[in-house]
């Protein structure tokens, strides 16, 4: 992984967060109207989306974080 790859992953972060939450809420809404469980699945979807967003961002930022830690320990 070099600088380019790191920069590109940073570019991906913002839309990833949005995408995760939109996907979760969208799936929740869709399932809610199909299963008649109005507010529950939207909330579940939202929470799941936020968790996925955080996990994905953590994964994307891991290389940068470990880079910094290495530099500090040198």
């Amino acid at each position: 992984m070099n600088r380019w790859a790191a920069a590109l992953r940073l570019v991906g972060v913002g839309f990833f967060i949005g995408g995760a939450i939109v996907l979760g809420v969208g799936a929740g809404l869709w399932l809610d109207t199909r299963l008649n469980t109005k507010p529950i699945l939207v909330i579940v979807g939202l929470i799941l989306g936020i968790i996925v967003a955080f996990y994905g961002v953590y994964q994307m930022l891991l290389p940068l974080l470990s880079n910094r830690r290495n530099k500090r320990s040198e």
Binding site: N2, W4, L8, V11, G12, F15, F16, A20, L23, L48
Partner: protein, 310 residues
């Protein structure tokens, strides 16, 4: 008197630019709106131009075909008479392709860079040429009458129809999974369905080591959950790829239309330059992120963290 210059530009050129700018203010709706420029009406769904055997052929499909024809034609013309000492067009394309190739090798390494190059370069060339071609004057303004008798635009930048970014995102997704499966085999799937630690914990419990077994089962459950998160984030990628490209391109088109409507002539040319840059940057981001995800997919499990530490 004609020789006077300001920052290297002859004064009469500057005067024409300023006059056009002022003319734009007067003619456009910001000023007195003398000409009554028609108000732009951007439409999100692509318009149907004609049908072939029941398939709707929209103007964005035609735009995509146009891009493909231009790209194929250019590569045919350039490669037909290749010379050792390249001409201007050939050297420009050699530079472009060489640059993308170097980019692949730097991110993915020598061997994988060669394997990924066709996918990455195709996406890059298609997205960037599509964006640039739709900036050519006349691309979006030719209208024809379709079968239902409506006047529709003949061509439209394919990136501004959400189906095309979605298709590109799916292509990128499929290639990521394909290369992952191809190089890691069935092990690649263990990233998504990591049942191993949980089953090992269960085995320990059955053998009688209850304490250690339950601990291992618990961490196994976490591994399974992480696998679910990996799977979901794989699908979120498709969505974020789609909306990034679609949003940026569509916003650019609408920005140009509005700028040309508000203050014609000089003012929109600033945004033209901006949109050329945006087209290039979006192509770079789309292909570059595909490259990064391809690189991550072919890495072994623990290896991902190792390589980051270099």
């Amino acid at each position: 008197m004609l020789k006077r210059r300001l920052a290297g530009v002859p004064l009469w050129v500057l005067a024409i630019i300023v006059l056009l700018l002022l003319g734009g203010v007067v003619v456009g709706p910001m000023g007195m709106s003398l000409l009554g420029v028609p108000r732009p009406e951007p439409e999100l769904p692509a318009e149907v131009v004609f049908h072939i055997a029941g398939f709707l052929i929209t103007n964005s499909i035609l735009g995509a075909w146009f891009t493909i024809i231009v790209l194929a034609g250019l590569s045919f013309i350039i490669t037909r008479r290749m010379k050792m000492v390249p001409g201007r067009l050939q050297s420009a394309f050699e530079f472009l392709v060489g640059w993308v190739y170097d980019f692949c090798r730097r991110v993915a390494g020598e061997k994988n860079g060669r394997r990924f190059f066709p996918v990455v370069a195709t996406i890059f060339l298609f997205v960037s040429f599509n964006a640039w071609l739709s900036l050519v004057p006349g691309f979006g303004s030719i209208t024809i009458t379709n079968e239902e008798g409506y006047a529709v635009h003949l061509l439209r930048g394919a990136n501004t129809d959400i189906n095309v970014p979605l298709a590109l995102a799916l292509v990128s997704f499929l290639f990521v999974e394909y290369f992952g499966l191809r190089s890691l085999g069935i092990k690649y799937l263990s990233k998504f369905f990591n049942l191993g630690p949980f089953l090992r914990g269960l085995g320990q419990v059955l053998k009688g080591k209850v304490g250690a077994g339950f601990g291992a089962m618990f961490s196994g459950l976490i591994q399974i959950f992480v696998g679910v998160l990996e799977t979901l984030s794989e699908f979120v990628r498709i969505l974020s790829f789609t909306f990034r490209l679609f949003g940026n391109m569509t916003a650019g088109e609408i920005l140009l239309l509005s700028a040309a409507f508000l203050m014609p002539f000089v003012f929109p040319s600033v945004f033209y330059g901006l949109e050329m840059l945006v087209g290039f940057v979006q192509a770079l981001i789309f292909s570059g992120l595909t490259l990064v995800f391809l690189t991550l997919a072919v890495m072994h499990h623990g290896e991902a963290q190792e390589t980051h530490k270099e």
